[in-house]
Amino acid sequence: MKLNERSVAHYATCDSPPDKTGYLFKKGERNTAYHRRWFVLKGNMLFYFEERESREPIGVIVLEGCTVELCESAEEFAFAIKFDCAKARVYKMAAENQAAMESWVKALSRASFDYMRLVVKELERQLEEIQEAAGGGCGGAGGLQGKENGVAWTKPAISLANGFGEGASSYVPWEGNADSGNGSVSGGSVDGMRPPPVPPRRRGASLESPVSPGTGCFSKLHDWYGKEVEELRVEWLQSQ
C-alpha cells in the first residue's frame, strides 16, 4: 500500500513539538531480541529511529484504536501495543525503568485522534456556554482561519502565528507546568474573534470490524515503511 512516506517522515522530524520522546526497547518482528530505538510520539503516530540522531525514522506505529497494556515478559518494564484487528502485529516494548514505563503507557493510550477530538469538543462546548452566559455577544472567540492545518505557510495573513495573539491577548502561564515546552501556541487570527471550526462528525472509531476498510488500512500502514526493511537487514546481519 502506498503512503506519502516522505511527508510522513517530514512530520516525524519537523519542528512541531513531539508529545513524548525517549529510548525504548522494541521487540523485533522476526528476530525476537529487543532492540533499543529512539521513539518520538507526535499526535497519533509513534515514530521510531535507529538512533536519536538519525535523520529519518525506520518505522511508525499508528496508534488509532490501539490498547496499551502491561505484559508478561522476561523483559522488565514491558508493555504491549495491541489492535483489534487479528491481522495486526502486536508491538512488544520495554522501558528502562518503572516510571518511564508508566509514563509511556499513559501517553500512548491517550494518543488517539478521537481522544483529542473529544477533549476539543468538550472545551468548545464550555467556551460556548461561557460566551452565551456573558451575553451571547462576541460572535465567537478567535480561531484558526485559513487552509493550513498546522503549517506556517507563505501567507502571513492567515498563517498561524507562533506565540499567542499578536499582542492582543496575553499568554497565560500555567502554574506548575514546569515542562511547558510542548505545543506551539497559535493565537487567534489577529483581527479576530471567531470560533475555531467544528471538527467533523465521525461515527466511532474506525477499527472495529475486521471487514472494515479502516482496520485493514491501519494494519497495512504498520507493515509499511520501506526503511523497516533496513532494520530487518540489520537484525539479520546481527544474527549471523
Binding site: 500500500m1 503512503l3 511527508s7 517530514h10 512530520y11 519537523c14 512541531s16 513539538p17 513524548k20 520522546t21 507526535k42 499526535g43 536519536r52 522501558a95 518511564a100 501517553a107 494518543a111 478521537d114 483529542m116 477530538r117 477533549v119 476539543v120 468538550e122 472545551l123 468548545e124 464550555q126 467556551l127 461561557i130 456573558a134 472567540a141 480561531g143 484558526l144 487552509k147 492545518n149 498546522g150 505557510w153 507562533n162 499567542f164 491577548s169 506548575g176 507546568n177 511547558s180 515546552g181 510542548n182 505545543g183 506551539s184 501556541v185 497559535s186 487567534g188 475555531p196 471538527p199 467533523p200 462528525r201 461515527r203 466511532g204 477499527l207 472495529e208 472494515s212 476498510p213 485493514g216
Partner: protein, 151 residues
C-alpha cells in the same frame, strides 16, 4: 462500538502526478477520510491502494469542483481531486483541513487559553489531564524536541 460508516465517500479523480506536470493522469478512485488519513481505493475494492497522512499539508481550491493537497516538504507537488459537485468540493476541503491532529491541538490550546482568560480557571483541571504534554501551551518559542523519557 457502532459499525464503521465512512465519513464521506465520494468518487473523486485522483491525480497522482509524475514529475512532468504536463502529464496528468486522471484516475477514478474512492476516497475515504479516516482520522488524519486519506485512503484511496480502486472503486469496489476492499483494500486501499494507498493513503495520505494529512499532517503538515495545505488544501486549496483549484477550481469550482477541484481541490488540491500539497505537503509542506514538497510544496510544488499537488495531489488533485475532482469532485462531483461544487458543494462536495467545499465539504471535502473543510473536512480535510480539520482532519489533522495538529489542527485539533491548536484549537484545543486556543480554547484552553481562552477559557482560562475568561474564567480564571483551567478547564482541563476538572478532568485531571492538565499536565498531559499534548495539551500544553508553549511559551511561544520554537521548541526542540526534548527527551521526556524520564517523565
Amino acid at each position: 462500538l457502532p459499525g464503521t460508516q465512512p465519513t464521506a465517500l465520494a468518487h473523486c479523480n485522483v491525480d497522482c502526478t509524475s514529475e512532468n506536470t504536463d502529464c496528468v493522469v486522471v484516475k477514478k478512485r474512492l476516497v475515504k477520510l479516516v482520522v488524519n488519513f486519506l485512503f484511496y481505493f480502486k472503486t469496489d475494492e476492499e483494500e486501499p491502494l494507498g493513503a495520505l497522512l494529512l499532517e503538515q499539508c495545505r488544501v486549496e481550491r483549484e477550481d469550482s469542483q477541484v481541490f488540491s493537497i500539497a505537503f509542506l516538504d514538497e510544496a510544488e507537488r499537488k495531489y488533485l481531486f475532482e469532485c462531483d459537485s461544487e458543494e462536495q468540493c467545499v465539504e471535502w476541503i473543510d473536512s480535510i483541513i480539520k482532519a489533522s491532529y495538529e489542527f485539533m491541538r491548536k484549537n484545543l490550546i486556543f480554547y484552553r487559553t481562552e477559557i482560562h482568560r475568561l474564567t480564571g480557571k483551567d478547564p482541563l483541571e476538572q478532568y485531571g489531564i492538565l499536565d498531559e504534554t499534548r495539551f500544553q501551551v508553549s511559551n511561544g518559542l520554537p521548541l526542540m524536541p526534548k527527551d521526556t523519557s524520564s517523565m
